[in-house]
Symmetry: C2
């Protein structure tokens, strides 16, 4: 892949979409964006073991390479990079990327080591695929921030291009994990986005934005989800710039905000977010 | 530097020598090696703040850019990359390279965080300079191992080329820190290499190599240094492959060994090593 990329880079622009496979319309929208902006589209399919915790769903994470390959062919993908875990992490593997600060918040708090795993594999994939740019979905908002920060701070010569979240008709953000949901859970799942919209409206309707008011809104939303049988991890109103909790000074100065949430419905952990 | 490198890479081979400046013959030997093997030689001069501990010699580390530039010009260096600390690590910098295992041994044990700092800056310099290969001195044996491991495990497209330690006529390994030594200390300093040679002879003369015998040799050497007024950090016989302490099975199978040492003479910390 590296020597292929070296050859291509002489006169072609390489666009890259890293995925864990089991592709849905959300992934395909990323591929289409890459297709628009590049000469050569590379999609990687790699279920990255080190971004899963010991109690998480690595072994049951859905995989279907034949179907993925067919979908990618339809989108005129030029190259599928499909490495084995043992090739990416041979025995004795011990070199990791730490993105301090950001990785301890929100999803990083519950999923210890998750973002080290994400940053490590994305850095390595960038070194192998050598793209001019890479497209990441905004559904994984914190991931997008961490990768942007890594790319900037490591001086990686790769532009990070965000792409809007693709949703089902009822509003549920597309995710490979949606396949885990039972029929009843699938019917309940759009509640997560509905609640984000409600939280946004409440924030927009505040006479004065301050931490206490935001905390009340967050806590009511958490209680509402829990009352419907979800197991909320967090619903948090944060600064878009760094995902830190805003302070009153920043709030009054009009700091751009984003609401982020992660919650379990049955055994399935769903995430979503909404910029205000 | 990145766009310059992109242009050069189209038809030129880039050789890279990262340094902290205050160049001596040891550095110049690295530059000559790079000159032999490449079309374009890039030398970076950057006293990397994050590889110094809070009690170490960052502020008094010797600097002389004008002299360095003159020396590099004589060696037909094409590009000197000379960034400011604030450009490499802007406010809020938080992305680091962890090389687990290797960084906790030997120098990593005394100099906590040192090798994270080294790996982080070398990774970033590689991303910026985009060399085909980089030359590192064997004097910093553990550093060379860590960089080799990082380059391999991160799939960095950079060949790591080792270069032999350059020594003064009396055997002292050249180092920018030798300038700290008083006349009396400078006269004593070659003792470190003499002792490494003695340790090597003792190991070679063992009837049977085993851990106990090595430990006796190491401890005698430490005592000998201490007796002459040094403050030894370690003298250790290790496996060349991973710098781990060898076990008896490996020793009997003829595992290649290296002796590494770090010791303070007055306020100056010197390191050296010798492959057996």
């Amino acid at each position: 892949m590296q020597s292929l990329a070296d050859g291509l880079r002489k006169d072609k622009r390489i666009g890259f979409v890293p995925t864990m496979g089991y592709l849905h319309e959300g992934h395909l929208a990323l591929v289409r964006k890459a297709r628009e902006l590049s000469d050569v589209v590379v999609v990687s399919i790699f279920v990255n073991p080190i971004q899963f915790g010991p109690t998480e769903d690595l072994s049951r994470y859905p995989r279907d390479f034949a179907r993925d390959a067919e979908l990618l062919e339809k989108e005129k993908t030029d190259i599928i990079f499909y490495p084995e875990a043992g090739d990416v992490y041979p025995d004795g593997y011990s070199t990791y990327v730490e993105v301090k600060g950001l990785e301890d918040y929100l999803c990083g708090k519950t999923r210890t080591g998750h973002f080290v795993g994400v940053a490590t594999v994305v850095n390595k994939l960038f070194n192998i695929v050598k793209p001019h740019f890479a497209v990441f979905g905004q559904k994984d908002y914190q991931q997008l921030m961490i990768i942007r920060q890594m790319a900037k701070q490591f001086a990686l010569p790769v532009d990070i291009i965000p792409a809007e979240t693709i949703r089902a008709a009822d509003g549920l953000a597309l995710s490979s994990r949606n396949g885990y949901l039972s029929t009843a859970e699938r019917a309940e799942a759009p509640e997560l986005q509905r609640l984000l919209n409600e939280v946004r409206d409440q924030v927009l309707n505040l006479k004065e934005r301050n931490i206490e008011a935001l905390t009340v809104i967050e806590q009511k939303a958490v209680a509402q989800l829990a009352g419907r049988g979800w197991e909320p991890d967090y619903i948090a109103v944060r600064q878009q710039s760094d995902l830190a909790p805003p302070n009153n000074e920043n709030l009054q100065a009009g700091e751009p905000l984003v609401i982020l949430t992660a919650a379990k419905l049955g055994k399935t952990r769903l995430i979503d977010n909404l910029e205000i």
